[in-house]
Assembly symmetry: C3
Homo-oligomer: 140 residues x 3
């Protein structure tokens, strides 16, 4: 018999950069003994993203950040929406170029992530923020 469950997480960003939270998601799965099903993560913000990326070499995360900073320059003269500063509109654009929700199959009590895949919260604002995430599981 299929069942579903819902959970909320609050995570902190500390300026720009990638914050892994795979373990927080796995902890909820273990607590509820979910075995097989579909796990969905939704980030409730428009200036931060979810990203699955390599969790081995930290240089990958540094280079990702450097690339996005160059691709979407702070204080670009193109932008009209600058109410909250030079990093405001770049944060919205970086969010549009990535995602705020994702669904991952679960098998034998584990997310079917690849060997090098970790789940990250990507802060795009230069200041830290509390970020709210909703989790949903459907399965057994």
């Amino acid at each position: 018999m299929l069942r579903q469950s819902f959970h909320e997480l609050t995570l902190a960003t500390h300026g720009r950069g990638l914050n892994e939270f795979t373990r927080e998601v796995e902890k909820w799965i273990a607590q509820n003994r979910f075995n097989e099903g579909l796990l969905t993560i939704h980030l409730q913000h428009t200036s931060a993203s979810l990203l699955i990326q390599e969790n081995a070499d930290p240089d990958v995360r540094r280079d990702l950040e450097a690339f996005f900073k160059r691709l979407v320059p702070d204080g670009d003269a193109l932008f009209i929406h600058t109410a909250e500063g030079d990093d405001d509109m770049p944060a919205h654009i970086r969010t549009a170029l990535t995602v705020v929700n994702m669904s991952i199959p679960l098998r034998a009590g584990r997310l079917t992530l690849g060997t090098w895949q970790g789940i990250y919260l990507w802060g795009h604002r230069t200041h830290g923020h509390a970020r709210h995430i909703t989790l949903h599981f459907v399965g057994e």
Copy 2:
């Protein structure tokens, strides 16, 4: 007992730009009294996108459009596929840089969107088009 439901929407784009349709999705949820579950939206096109973005200041949407227009220039000499005009290949690329489907958890009869999150259909062609969307709900 979990149940599922399926629905179709047709929305119009009027050239490039972001068209919010959060209310159309919420209307379907309310009509069916969905309470808790997972709502999936799929856009059946390759030259338009779905986007969750800020629904407050319209300048955000103007700047998003301006940035993507500069990032993927119309009539770029790089492109071979120009059958439908200068905006044809840029529309495919803008779609690849964003998404055509997304899943959002539902709780207490409401999508768990953040305060500033709205759901948009992003037209990438310079002319208007009828765009078809499928909706799926699984839950209670």
Copy 3:
């Protein structure tokens, strides 16, 4: 009564480029006589992507590849993470700019893809690799 099912696919990339695998997904759906529900695809890698794109004119795929190659140059002096070669970090960035999972509603035994939509595995490394995908279905 809702049910769920899980499956694994292994697909080969042959260097960079888009490899359609819509039929492999449809084959699993047909074998199991899934009728209505939600199909999720998850790619277990950080240097390849999933993409829904036009399956008619191959020039679209050629132009997508050309655009991403120019947007994220191989051997860019910005990159520190170059352990596996000039195409290593660009592969991670191209993956971040696209997606590694997606969910598509199913109706009357068919994925609700648009007329021109195909499901692709996008290889971002210059060499070929075996790529692992997990599939999940929930529905009837």
